[in-house]
Symmetry: none
Subunit: 228 residues, 2 copies
Amino acid sequence: MKVYDRYWFALLALARAGALEGEVRISTITLAEMLNTSQQTASRYLMQLSRLGYIRRRMHKRGQYIRITKAGENALLEIYRDLREIFEKPKVIEITGEVFTGLGEGKYYLSIPHYIKQITEKLGFKPYPGTLNVRIKDEKSLMNRLLMETFKPTAYIHGFSNGKRTYGSAKCYLATINGVKEAAIICIERTHYGKDVVEIIAPVCLRERLGLKDGDLVKIQVKTSEAP
Amino acid sequence: MKVYDRYWFALLALARAGALEGEVRISTITLAEMLNTSQQTASRYLMQLSRLGYIRRRMHKRGQYIRITKAGENALLEIYRDLREIFEKPKVIEITGEVFTGLGEGKYYLSIPHYIKQITEKLGFKPYPGTLNVRIKDEKSLMNRLLMETFKPTAYIHGFSNGKRTYGSAKCYLATINGVKEAAIICIERTHYGKDVVEIIAPVCLRERLGLKDGDLVKIQVKTSEAP
DNA sequence: ATTACTAAATGGCGAGTAG
DNA sequence: TCTACTCGCCATTTAGTAA
């Protein structure tokens, strides 16, 4: 790495000038201006980058044409990936809302063996037969709920059909509820609730465990796993 | 730029170690190994980064705890955005919404010379004194609005203070409104609107130009910035 | 264990300039 | 014009070592 550090910004400048897509005409003076350095230094940088195989130069009587090679692109890409991981990956999305009593839809779903099996396998806990319904009141939480759904779910629960009717799929996101770490938001595909409602599953009855009653505020921290 | 080039990789290494999320225990020797350099150099880098305000160090008898500051994060973010622009094709983000009549906040802001001047300089047109207010109704647009804000604005309008009160900053994104190409979304930092509202500026009165009245649907196409 | 100072060695920078 | 060489200068590095 060491050796390339100092040429890295030169490569970035060339990329910005379009040298990834094709040959670009750039004088050493122009590059020097872009890097805020001298013409001589820019010239040296280009020589080194060429020697490293990161760029290809086509010299001309008056001017040169530069293009970044595959190797150079990979060098840039490597850092880009690092940064993307740093900035896009580890996000904790916070949602707060009020507990309310639902219509037993969650309870019904969580009594179907097909769902229980998949949830147990994919989330690592056997869900208590019932969901904790939370209604989002503030806008920030609503945004975060939408943002959450742009991330890849921790588990994807497949729907099925038994001939009589079809059962929808669902997405699960691991989350912490008021400090209880073993829980998940479950987004049932064809729920009759709006986007302002989230349903929580856990191996225990959260209402009892957290001593919750209707109208109580809960704080949900969703752990996203992958870039949107 | 010049001075910071060489600390950039050190900052990246610290970010990789998790120093963006919280304090991380890293010895100068460990950092030296990560950067493939000497312990002394790593030590110096940390001192410089600290002096630049990019990291905060908590020294201990045996060991130190390092965390990247907001300024450091921004330094990394800037390069990340550069790379994202280079590697991700410029996207057109679509937002649709309904026109509504605001409270004259936009009109007020666009009568302040300080703002007019900056907008004219940075966007290339003198804004009509008034904004077109659009309320987002659908979820897809709401998400796109959030996505938009992860991109670098076309222009950043700085806030100011005149002693009496402070005027917030704003971010502008060039956009096309119902086919009108010379327009921009302006995100005022301390607006009283929620994230479901966007305000549009243009050199002309868009309401007249497009024959809009309250409740009419408009289609906004935001151009995410491209490498210059 | 650590971090960081000092001083000597290394090597990058850029003015001048040739091709 | 352009690129890139030489060479004096000085910035960066690192071994040794103190705290």
